[in-house]
Amino acid sequence: MADESTNQGIPEPEGHADIIQTDYEIGQDNIETKIGPFGLDIHNPVFAIAGLSVIAFVAYALIAPGHANGLFNGLDPSDTCEAGAFCDLGLRSYLTSTYDWFFLLAANLFVIFCLFLIVSPWGSVRLGGSEATPDYGYPGWFAMLFAAGMGIGLMFFGVLEPTYYFGTPWGDAPLGTVRPFDENGALIPGNVDEARRMALAATSYHWALHPWAIYAVVALALALFSYNKGLPLSIRSAFYPILGDRVWGWWGHIIDTLAVFATLFGLATSLGIGAQQANAGLEYVYGVPNNVTVQVILICAITAVALVSVVRGLDGGVKVLSEINMVIALLLLLFVLFAAGAVTILSEFVTGVGAYFQELIPLSNPFGREDTGYMQGWTAFYWAWWISWSPFVGMFIARVSRGRTVREFITCVLIIPSVVCIFWMAVFGGAAITDVINNPDASAVKANVIDSYSPELSLFAMLESLPLAAITSTIGIVLVIVFFVTSSDSGSLVIDTITAGGKVDAPVPQRIFWCTFEGLVAIALLIGGGLGALQAMVISTGLPFTLILLLICYAILRGLMAEKRG
C-alpha cells in the first residue's frame, strides 16, 4: 500500500521558475546507515573524502610542523632562499604577492557585476519563484549575515586596522601616504588629517563593497540554482550551466570537497587562533593566565555553546544567538560612539565615506602600484581570505535568503552591510586614532599597534581610553566569544548540508559530528602546533576559488536569463 506517486516523475512547478531538467535525484548518491542508534544520511564520497583529507592535513601539521610551516608560511631555517622566492615566502605570501593583480582585478569585477545586477532587468527576478515570500524578516536576516562571516573580523580589526594604517612605521601605508609621526615618534600635526583620512578609506576598502560582493556572488548563485532551478543546495549546483550533468560526478565531488575542506579548516584555525587572542585579552583585562589549558577550555566552551545552537536549529538556535549578538554589538557601538564624542566620530564617518569613494579607484587599481606592502600584504591577503570563506558564508546567506528579489538581495547583502562596516570602522578606528593623537605618549592603542605590534590587545587598549573600561572590556570579550559561536554553528550547518549531498534535513547527529570535529581539530592544532601553517593553507585556497567565482558569475547570468522577471 506504499504510495506509488512518490516514485513518479517530477511534475512541473506552477510556471514561475525555470526548473532545470536533470535526471539527478537529490540524495541518490547518499548512504543511509546507522551508527549505534543514530541514523546517518551522507553523500558518498564527499563526506568521507572531506573528513579523511582534514585528518590527513592535521596529521601532517602535527607530525612535520616545520615542513608544514615552511611550505605554507615560508619560514626557511636554512637561510638558503633568496628573498621573495617561494621557499622564502611560503605558499600563501607567494600567491598573494605573485597573483596580487589577479585577486584585485577579480574582486573589482565582482563588485561591478553585483552593481550591474541591481540596475539590470534581472534585478526583479525573485529567488524561490515569482510567488515566493521571504523566509526571514530584515532584523533576523541582517543579524545572520553579519554573525556568520564578518562579526569576528570587525571585533578584531575595528581598532587595529585604521590605527595601523594611520601610523605604520613598517612602510606599508596605503598608497604611500604620509606618516603623522617623525623619527622620534613626535606628532607632525600637518600630516595628521591626511593620514587619518587615508586610514579610514583604506580600511573601509577592505570591509565594504569588495568582501560583500564576493559573498553576494556565491550566495546569489546558490540561492538561484537551488530555489529557482531545483538543484541541491550545494556549491556544485552553481556549475550546472557550465558542466551540465557532469556536476553530479567527480567534478562536483571535487568542488564540494574543496568547499568543505576550506570551511572546516577556516573555522577550526580561526577558532584556535581566536582562543589564543581571547586568552590574551583575558590576561590583559583580568590577569587570567595565558596558557594552552585556558585556551583549550575556551575552545571547549565555544564548541559546547555552538552544539546547543545547532541542535536547537536554524530558527531556535542560530538566529536567536545572532540576534542577541547583534544587540550587544550595537550597544557597544553606541557606547563607543558617545563616549568618544558623537560629533567627532560622526564627522569621522562622513569623512570616511567621502574618502572611501575618492580613493576607491586608486586603491583597487591592480597595476603600477608602488605601495606593494599594502597591496600585497593587506589587500591581496584580505581578498584571498574573504574568497576562501565565501563557500561557507555564501552558502549560509543563500540558506536564509529565499523569497527576496535579486535587486533586494544584492542591495541588502552588498550596500547595507558596506555602510554598516564603514560606520563600524569609523567609530572604533576613529575613537582609537583620536586617542593616539590626543595622548601620543600615554596611549595604550599606540603602544600596542604602532610602537609594538600586539593586535589582539588593540580593542581592549582602545576601550581602556574610554570610561567604564572594566564593563566594556568584558562585553568585548563576550562578543568575541559569541561571534566565534555564531560562525561555528552556521559553519557546521553548511558543512553538514554539503556532505549530505545538499539535503538540509539530514539527521541531527551529523551536524553534532561536524561541530565537534571542528573543535577537536582546533584543539589538536593548538596543542600540537600548526594553526598558523594551516590557516595560511586555507587562505591559499583563495586562488582556486577566485577562478571558481569568476565562472560562477557567468553561471549566474546564464541562470538569470531563463527566469521570469517579476
Binding site: M1, T6, G27, G36, R399, V504, D505, V508
Partner: protein, 139 residues
C-alpha cells in the same frame, strides 16, 4: 469517538508507512472520521521534491490514493520549515492544533538508546498533545 485523524507522513520513507496507514484507514472507516496527511519539509530542494509546489502535489496524490483505496475522506497539509531536522516536532504539534484533529496516528521506530538524546518524533508529539496519539511500531 473520533472525527478527524491527523497522520504525519515522511514522503522520503513512504515504504515504512504501510502498517500505520492501514491502522489509520481502519480507524477512519470504523469511526467515520476524515484523515489529513501532514508532511513537513524544507523550502530547499530535497530528495522528495525539488520545489514546494511539487511537494504539495505529491502529498495530495498520496491523500487522494488513500481516499480511493479505502473509501474515506482525506486531505493533505504540507508544512514548510527552515530546518525540518530540528523543527519537525514543533511543526507537527502546531499542525495538530491548527487542524483541530482529535486523534494522531503515526509510524515510529522501536525505542532505543538514541531516544535518550534525541527523542522520537512520535514520542514528542504524544508528550505535548492533549489528544490521543497512536504510535504504530514498524513490524
Amino acid at each position: 469517538m473520533f472525527k478527524h485523524i491527523m497522520m504525519p507522513v515522511d514522503l522520503g520513507h513512504a515504504d515504512k508507512l504501510d502498517r500505520a496507514m492501514t491502522v489509520a484507514a481502519d480507524l477512519a472507516k470504523h469511526y467515520g472520521a476524515d484523515i489529513t496527511f501532514v508532511g513537513v519539509t524544507s523550502n530547499a530542494p530535497g530528495s522528495v521534491a525539488r520545489t514546494p509546489e511539487e511537494y504539495r502535489e505529491k502529498l495530495a496524490k498520496l491523500a487522494a490514493a488513500q481516499a480511493e483505496l479505502n473509501g474515506i475522506e482525506t486531505k493533505s497539509h504540507a508544512v514548510f520549515s527552515h530546518d525540518p531536522a530540528v523543527d519537525l516536532d514543533d511543526k507537527l504539534i502546531e499542525a495538530r492544533k491548527e487542524l483541530g484533529a482529535d486523534l494522531v496516528v503515526m509510524a515510529t521506530h522501536l525505542p532505543n538508546m538514541g531516544d535518550m538524546f534525541l527523542p522520537s518524533h512520535g514520542g514528542e508529539l504524544a508528550r505535548h498533545s492533549d489528544v490521543s496519539v497512536f504510535l504504530v511500531r514498524h513490524a
